[in-house]
C-alpha cells in the first residue's frame, strides 16, 4: 500500500470543454494533496485534447496524464476504463476522484471493479486523516439528517465520486507550471463492442435549473398541485426557474428534471426560495451553496431555517401571494426604467 502515492482527478471533457465539476475537484484535490504532501494529477482522456492540459494545471494540478487517441473521441466505458486502469496500475495513486456525473459514475464503477477497490458514491465532503492517509469521503446517509463518512482502509486507490457544485474551484493561474505526461494506448476501433452513433442535444429543453440565477422551489407543504401554482406564479413574476423536492416530484407536481437535491440537481443560484420545504438533508445538499436563501415555512423548527439566509415563519398560502404582489410592483418599475 505504501507504493500508492498522489491524488488524482479524472478530468471530464465534452466536446473539448472541461466540465465544471472537474475544475472543482482540482480545487478540492489540491487541498488533499497539500495535506498529504504529494502531487496533484489530472487524468485527461479524449481525442485532440492535449491542449487542455494547461487549463488543468492552471486550476491546480502539478501534472497531467494525457491519453489522446481517436478511439477516445466519445466517452465509452470500455475504452476510457482501459486508459484509466492502465494509468492507475502504472503510477499507483492513493486517492482518485471523479465527478458524480453520468459518465464519471459509470467510469468509476467499472474502474473500481477491475482494481478491486472501494468507491464512495455522491460524496459531498472530503478530507484526509493524515496518520493512515485515509480519505474521509462523507455523503448523506440513508435515513435521517445525518452524514456518513465512508472509509476504504485496506485497498488503494481510495476512490470517490463527488457531487458537482459542492467543492470550490481555485482561481485559475495561467502562470502555473506543470508536467504533461502523454501515455500511449493500444486500442483499435474494431475491438470496441459499443459505438456512439450520434449525439443528440436537446435544445428545446426549457428548464435549465443548473444555470438559473434565481430559483423558486416548492415542497410538499404547498398542499396540493393547485396550490403549487403559486410557486409557478411567483417564479413567472420574477423570471425565475421552478424547482422542487423529491416528494413533490413523486407526487407528480413537477417532472424529475426539476428536482433539487441528492437524487436531483445540485444548484448554486444567486437566490433560492424554499417554500413549504422541510429541509431534509437530501434536499439541502442540492441547494445549500446558493448565495442567498429565503425559506418560508410554517413550522419554526423546520431544518430549512438552518441553511436559510432569511427565514419567514408563516403560511405560504398567505405569504406567497403578498410576495407576488410586491414583486409585480418592483418588476414593473424596473421594466419602466429600462424602457426609458
Amino acid at each position: 500500500m505504501e507504493e500508492y502515492r498522489g491524488v488524482w482527478v479524472f478530468i471530464e471533457q465534452n466536446d473539448t470543454k472541461i466540465e465544471g465539476v472537474s475544475l472543482e475537484l482540482l480545487g478540492a484535490g489540491r487541498k488533499l494533496a497539500d495535506k498529504l504532501e504529494v502531487p496533484l494529477s489530472g487524468v485527461l482522456i479524449g481525442c485532440k485534447i492535449k491542449e487542455l492540459s494547461q487549463e488543468v494545471i492552471s486550476y491546480g494540478a502539478d501534472q497531467v496524464y494525457v491519453v489522446d487517441h481517436e478511439v477516445m473521441k466519445d466517452y465509452r466505458t470500455e475504452s476510457y476504463m482501459k486508459a484509466v486502469i492502465n494509468l492507475a496500475e502504472k503510477y499507483k495513486p492513493e486517492i482518485f476522484l471523479y465527478g458524480a456525473t453520468s459518465n464519471g459514475k459509470d467510469l468509476a464503477s467499472a474502474v473500481a471493479t477491475d482494481l478491486s477497490t472501494g468507491l464512495t458514491a455522491d460524496t459531498t465532503m472530503l478530507d484526509v486523516e493524515l496518520e493512515k492517509r485515509l480519505l474521509e469521503a462523507s455523503r448523506p446517509a440513508f435515513g435521517g439528517n445525518i452524514m456518513a463518512t465512508i472509509l476504504c482502509k485496506k485497498h488503494r486507490p481510495q476512490m470517490a465520486t463527488v457531487r458537482p457544485k459542492v467543492m470550490k474551484a481555485l482561481e485559475p493561474d495561467s502562470s502555473r507550471q506543470g508536467k504533461v505526461i502523454e501515455e500511449p494506448i493500444m486500442l483499435k476501433e474494431e475491438e470496441m463492442r459499443t459505438k456512439v452513433l450520434k449525439i443528440v442535444k436537446d435544445v428545446t429543453k426549457k428548464v435549465n435549473l443548473a444555470d438559473a440565477h434565481v430559483v423558486v422551489s416548492g415542497g410538499k407543504g404547498m398542499g396540493d398541485v393547485q396550490n403549487f401554482q403559486l410557486i409557478h406564479e411567483l417564479a413567472e413574476t420574477i423570471g425565475a426557474t421552478v424547482g422542487g423536492t423529491r416528494d413533490v416530484v413523486e407526487a407528480g407536481w413537477l417532472p424529475h428534471e426539476q428536482q433539487v437535491g441528492q437524487t436531483g440537481e445540485t444548484i448554486t443560484p444567486k437566490i433560492y426560495f424554499a417554500i413549504g420545504i422541510s429541509g431534509a438533508i437530501q434536499h439541502v445538499v442540492g441547494m445549500k451553496n446558493s448565495e442567498f436563501i429565503v425559506a418560508i415555512n410554517k413550522d419554526p423548527d423546520a431544518p430549512i431555517f438552518d441553511v436559510a439566509t432569511y427565514g419567514i415563519v408563516g403560511d405560504a398560502m398567505e405569504i406567497v401571494p403578498k410576495l407576488i404582489e410586491e414583486f409585480k410592483e418592483i418588476c414593473k418599475k424596473g421594466g419602466e426604467e429600462t424602457n426609458v
Binding site: E78, K198, K322
Partner: protein, 272 residues
Amino acid sequence: MHIVVCVKQVPDTKIIKINPKTNTLDRRSAPAILNPYDAHAVQEAVKIKKELGKGTISVLSMGPPQATAVIKKSIEIGADRGFLISDRAFAGADTLATSYALSKALGRISKEMPVDLIMCGKHAIDGDTGQVGPGIARRLDIPPVTNVIEVSELNESENKVLLKRKIMNGYELIQAQIPCLLTVEKDINSIEYAPMSNMIKAARYEPVIWSVNDLEDVDRTQLGLKGSPTIVGKMFTPPKPEGGKRLEGTPEEQVKQLMGLLSDKKELFLSQ
C-alpha cells in the same frame, strides 16, 4: 433471447419519513418494495420479449428470505422465473461484494441458459450509488451501457442492440453488441397494469433460492462484509451553518422586510 433483470428490495423512501425534530428515521411506516428503477427494467424486458414474440425473462435478487417478495412482484409485471441468492455470507456487502455475488449467480444461470441481456436499475433508491450494474458487467466482461432511456432496436440475428443513453442536455444513440448490460432510467417506459393471469402466477410462484454453496468457484473472501473494501467510519450531523435570521412581525411586515433585503438584487429579477 434470455434476459436477466437484477432486482433489489428496498425500503420505500417515499413513505419513510424523517422526523425533523429528532432527525431520525420513522421506520414504523416503511414497507419494503421493489426498487422502482428495477420495476422499469423488468417492464422493459417484458416489452422486448413481446416485440420479439419469444424469449425468457429471469429475475435475480440478493437479499434476505423476505426478498422473494420483489421476485413475485417481478413475476406479476411479466417475468418468467426468479432466483434469490440468500445467505449470511452475503450480508453486509458493499457494491463491490454485491456485484461479485450477483455475477457468480449469473454464472450459474447462464450455464443452464446462456444470457443475452442483463438489465439493472439506474440505481437503488436506498443508497443511490448506481455502481452495481457496471460492476457486474466488468466481472462478466460484457459492455455496460448506463442511463438507458430507450431500447430502439434489437437485432437478434446480428446480436446488436440500438439504445438511447441519457446524457446532459440530450441523448447518445449507441450500438452495443449482445451480450451486454443495461441500466435503465425511469423514463424508459411506464409500468403497465398486470393482467390477472400474472397476478395469479405471482401469488403461487416460489422462486429458486440458492445459498453460497449452490454457486461455483466462489472466493468467500470476496463476499459480504469481508469482501467489502468500504466501511462506514462515523456518522455525524453536518455542522450547522451560521443559521439564518428570522424576520419578525406580521406577514405584511415580513414581506416588506424581505423586499428591502432583496432590493440590491433587483437586476436579477426578470433578467434571465
